[in-house]
């Protein structure tokens, strides 16, 4: 039995996609999209998964809620091993977890009213029997995401709502079964800046009020700061750095994290007078990646060892983990 308040534990979690080159070929390769992730999340806490396109964020998120079955490692949820749950047990786990995806416009059946879309999970999971009770739940969920007066929104069709409003409906749908863990996969990246903050603020309030665990997936480091306690920086299937969000932003250690911070644009009229020091190149292919630091081809500080061996995670400061040879004896910098 584990400590009070612990919601989720990932131990060396792996998700590899099998691919065959050429359709008669018997040679199997793997896309190592998530390759050894270890992390613990307490109830009511939010963690940001930050990284570039293809770094494995969605795969990790979907593996955690068991839309994918892991190839290795373990997922412990509320002290229960859910790594390879099947059938009814898996259905229970689906109820305990929710997902909000990136594209609010593609998320709803166009011929369903909002009410019908929200009722759907209740029908599938058959958690409430009576029609009245279902309506009550739907209205309550709409209220939670501040789509009020709820009667106004419940009978609308998706095309009548703005992207921000639809994303609220998506959140309502994700929480209607009262899950304990929510994966929000780039929930605001298709929205305007102001609407982004509106939706993230709403998510944050829900998380605090319902004591939800939230996994917030984003490529925008700047939004992590006010909306998550923890941050995991991902690159090419690996977690390169993990710590409290404030700690990572104040004291970034991994060369990749530093590059991300430098590259993130901030409004400042002096920016136009200077060039940014960012590493060139692009992330590596994840098919049979080499045994080295996956950032080494682009890293400004790479040395011999980086090209030969994959670094383990070093605890460079208390609770601050870095997957980089520079921190081998935690001598820092």
């Amino acid at each position: 039995m584990n400590s009070e308040g612990r919601l989720l534990e990932l131990e060396d979690l792996r998700k590899w996609f099998e691919i065959r080159r050429g359709f008669l070929s018997s040679k199997v390769s793997y896309v190592k999209a998530v390759d050894g992730v270890t992390f613990t999340l307490d109830e009511g806490m939010a963690v940001s998964l930050v990284g570039e396109s293809g770094s494995g964020k969605t795969t990790l998120g979907k593996t955690i809620i068991r839309l994918y079955e892991p190839n290795g490692g373990r997922i412990i949820f509320q002290d229960r091993d859910v790594t390879h749950l099947k059938a009814n047990d898996l259905k229970w786990y689906r109820r305990m977890t929710g997902l909000v995806q990136q594209d609010p416009f593609g998320a709803f059946a166009s011929h369903f009213t909002i009410f019908r879309s929200l009722e759907e999970p209740l029908l599938i999971h058959n958690t409430v029997k009576s029609k009245e009770e279902r309506a009550e739940k739907v209205f309550k969920a709409l209220e939670e995401v501040r789509l009020t007066p709820v009667e106004d929104f419940a009978y609308k069709y998706p095309h009548m709502l703005s992207g921000g409003q639809l994303q609220r409906v998506a959140i309502a749908r994700a929480i209607i079964l009262e899950p304990r863990l929510l994966v929000a996969d780039e929930p605001v990246s298709m929205l305007d800046a102001s609407v982004r903050i509106e939706i993230l603020t709403l998510l944050r309030r829900l998380q605090e009020r319902l004591r939800l665990g939230v996994i917030y997936i984003t490529h925008d480091l700047a939004t992590t700061r006010f909306f998550s306690e923890w941050a995991l920086i991902m690159y090419a299937g690996h977690v390169m750095e993990k710590a409290f969000t404030q700690e990572i932003l104040r004291n970034p250690l991994h060369p990749y994290t530093r590059a991300l911070l430098t590259a993130t644009p901030e409004p400042n009229p002096e920016n136009r007078n200077r060039f940014k020091q960012v590493p060139p190149g692009e992330p590596p292919a994840l098919i049979d990646p080499p045994k080295s630091c996956r950032f080494s081809p682009r890293c400004p500080r790479a040395f011999d060892k980086c090209f030969k061996e994959e670094p383990p995670e070093f605890e460079a400061a208390s609770g601050h983990w870095v997957k980089c040879w520079l921190y081998e004896r935690s001598e820092g910098k």
Binding site: E52, A193, V195, A263, P267, V278, P280
Partner: protein, 324 residues
């Protein structure tokens, strides 16, 4: 009114689309001047008319145009008066070129990248194909790509590389003004930063004037020395970047800036409640008044003009109007 130093002056540019639901007033009363080597950032929320402005300037228009009028003065000449043939021969690509929104996804999959980069030259300058391909290759290299990429097909290039090729294509005719419509959206931050560096470099090298369209105010400050804010089809603030980022005047500009999360300060980002209006039936008076914290009666009944609040600084808001 346009100053003698201007390379481009736009006066009362207006563009309406015809749709089944009514006329979309996508752009109205757009006026500004650009001097050589300026970068004007055009910012505003999705659907406010940024791409419409871009298309109006290079006259690449869909069929359902309802109204298209105003003045676009290039080197002292109103090019709106040119017929399509002359505009195509003298202006589009030659003087003003454009990197369209989503350009990296609009390459033709069956032609090699080098050929597509060279295309404006072959079509517009009737250059010998071999010569044009050679130029394309040189430009591709200048964009920081290996020259051999000219012989590849679009699907063989990453998003960042395709976007570089799209920029090369906009430059191949040696234009003076380049419109960049969201040139880095959908790219990763590191790739984005590398492309912004590239845009800075080639601007210096070729003495280019940019119109940089983006919804990202942080990104806008990477290139802009002037900023135009558009809301619901109208310009609401026009300012130097130095003033805009430190002392924005329009309530909408203030709201936009306050919604940008920053890493370097502890300021909590805030949001503007509500959504932009329909452009078929926009609000009376100031189009921003339903969302504005400062609005009073006058704002909903009378439309504010662009009031001058400082040198080269205009704001469309009654807070700065006469007789407030």
């Amino acid at each position: 009114m346009s100053s003698s130093k201007s390379v481009l002056s736009v006066r009362d540019l207006k563009l309406y689309y015809r749709t089944r639901k009514g006329v979309v007033k996508a752009l109205e009363e757009i006026s500004f001047d650009l001097e050589k080597e300026d970068t004007l950032a055009v910012v505003g929320e999705s659907g406010c008319g940024k791409s419409t402005l871009a298309r109006a300037l290079v006259r690449v228009l869909p069929r359902n145009i309802h109204t298209y009028e105003g003045k676009v003065i290039l080197e002292g000449r109103n090019v709106m008066e040119l017929n399509e043939e002359d505009f195509r021969r003298e202006i589009r690509w030659r003087k003003i070129s454009i990197v369209f929104q989503g350009a990296m996804n609009s390459f033709n999959p069956v032609y090699k990248v080098g050929y597509q980069v060279a295309e404006p030259l072959i079509i517009h300058d009737h250059l010998e194909k071999k010569e044009a391909l050679k130029r394309a290759r040189q430009l591709i290299e200048l964009m920081g790509m290996p020259g051999v990429f000219a012989d590849r097909y679009p699907f063989e290039l990453s998003g960042g590389m395709k976007q570089r090729a799209a920029i090369a294509m906009a430059l191949i005719t040696n234009p003076e003004i380049v419109i960049l419509d969201e040139p880095t959206s959908a790219l990763d931050v590191l790739t984005q930063a590398n492309i912004i560096n590239l845009l800075k470099k080639i601007k210096n090298e070729f003495k280019l004037t940019y119109i940089f369209i983006t919804h990202d105010l942080g990104l806008a400050s990477e290139l802009a020395n002037r900023v135009a804010v558009i809301y619901a089809g109208k310009m609401v603030e026009l300012s130097s970047a130095d003033i805009f980022y430190t002392q924005p005047k329009h309530p909408y500009s203030k709201g936009l800036l306050a919604s940008v999360p920053t890493l370097s300060t502890d300021r909590r980002p805030e949001f503007i409640t509500g959504v932009p209006p329909s452009l078929i039936d926009p609000p009376s008076g100031c189009r921003f008044h339903p969302r504005c914290r400062f609005a009073w009666e006058k704002c909903s009944s009378e439309e504010p003009a662009m009031f001058q609040v400082g040198k080269d600084h205009l704001v469309r808001c009654w807070l700065y109007g006469d007789g407030k």
